[in-house]
Subunit: 354 residues, 2 copies
Amino acid sequence: MVTMKDVAQRAGVSIATVSFLLNDTKPVTAATRARIEQAMLDLGYRRNMVARALASRRTHIIAMAYPALEHRFGMSTSEFFTSAAEAARKEDYHLVLWPVGNDGVELRELLGQGLVDGVVLMEVQLDDPRIDVLRQAATPFALIGRTTEPAGLSHVDIDFDTTVEDAVRHLYERGHRQLALISGDLDDPRFHEYGPWVRVDAAYRRVAAEYGLPVVVLPCSDTTSAGKAAVERLLAEHPETTAVLVLNEYAAIGVVSGLKRAGYDVPGDLSVLALLMVPETAAMTDPELTMMRTPGPELGQLGTEALIRQLEDADPLPPQLVPAKLLPGATVAAPRAPRPKAGAGRRGARKARS
Amino acid sequence: MVTMKDVAQRAGVSIATVSFLLNDTKPVTAATRARIEQAMLDLGYRRNMVARALASRRTHIIAMAYPALEHRFGMSTSEFFTSAAEAARKEDYHLVLWPVGNDGVELRELLGQGLVDGVVLMEVQLDDPRIDVLRQAATPFALIGRTTEPAGLSHVDIDFDTTVEDAVRHLYERGHRQLALISGDLDDPRFHEYGPWVRVDAAYRRVAAEYGLPVVVLPCSDTTSAGKAAVERLLAEHPETTAVLVLNEYAAIGVVSGLKRAGYDVPGDLSVLALLMVPETAAMTDPELTMMRTPGPELGQLGTEALIRQLEDADPLPPQLVPAKLLPGATVAAPRAPRPKAGAGRRGARKARS
């Protein structure tokens, strides 16, 4: 790594002088500045971003707005954030995280400072008030997520329809006809009109109906203990269930744990398929969870790209919907005692782990 | 362009009052503030905080520097971050997260912009190069963590000595004499001289020696799979072990899972005690982990307070060391077959869960 000291040595000046120039704290002569800049160039030392920002009226900082005090900053979030930060870095931008509430109040305060070039918005609500705040501030932005009417907004999101359909088909093809979805809890005000929960819920009801399956949906917040409680309720109210889809990351861990505690073998007695999960969380259960893998790395990168293209006046990135893809673990198998029914899958009796 | 006068007229207040609010020069009532903010919103007035910042040289934004691309942003980190953000909010500051590397290069670039009033430094290394960067930039800062010689630096940290001693005593009093520590992996360059790992390792070796216990320490990075591998190695190399302390959060989950997979009953055959853990992660194992609970909420708040006191020219916060406290779960019991030895605890034979 090239340090300020290296630059100082090569330029034949003191470290303090290099610091004065870099931090704009004291004037240096044009000749000295030229020597230092040449040394930085020779050594590959990164450009003085202050000077660059002042010259261009651009800070080359972008913010990811994430309501960290309302929504858990979990393992999946971490993937979105780090991939966005890496994508920004590659384009010579810094990405910072703003833990502002999803009502837009704090976002407005920070935008008013004019300290970032643009914003990547996370955890989008269908009627998201932050969109108006961003428009009023005339700040370029891109969404990871989407509102009810996202046309005209730069956005990337999970393709929930494909994700849910692929998940249901996976279970159906293994013979499952008694499915249940342990969903999000949309009555929780922190998740008011939260896009992923609303869309997964709707997609599941549609797909289940298409497959001629009974629709069993239980709301559940995203904690291990909530997952345990939800699966207990499911076992009591719908003992015929042979496979459970779980929307939320930490709830899924609780579901596996709750089933085992209730004496159920997973997947022998009941299959579990996590929707929107990352491998690191899936590895926490035993057996490891079969999951639809959240495309966080792709979406963090794409959302950042969508924003930076605006900032650089490049061709806009068209809206992207990326499905979560099946990543086999060891929590899905054929149902133990398949109930033959009209239309039951021919592979129902075969023990097909995935 | 919308002017302050327009805002004042719409809000039905004097221009001076608008100015007091915008420049923070005089307090205004909450009702007046609300009226003015609504007027600004209605008119699309962009609160000129850049001007305010330039005038006052203060942005009321502080950054938490966390090397998110090198160190996992896990559940514990999330507690530090959200408690710091809440503490900042209470003092009318915004806290943002800078995912800058722990070599100081990006930190220097961002500091050069002069956009924050101060920095809370996380994941402190014993020889942390970011300290010099902060000093050169003349930016006020506080550490959550500490260097080898933290005297004179505003810092708060975990009291690792007390934490480790309390943990070892807890196991010792239940009759355990064959302990092992599954520690951090200090050969991993991302964790070079990482304070918590170095200090826990050193404290454990000292305390074990004081208790006359054999010193068994296995390095392990912080993933579930690394935890599984480490405990397998422990069982092979030290089958006499009756209790394991695990330093890292996700490794601890792997340890419980690996033990169960190997046919061990936890805590019947082997006790597990997690050092530095949060309840939400502990709840992911079955049985739930007994832990030393990381004081993230306290330290996030104290670290922010230490910084804001500097910014407000208040009395400095003296250095604070906060121990992690025992939070009983269900993974610690007396050893199954206590080995009577000189000095073995009198409670060794009793089955005492904690």
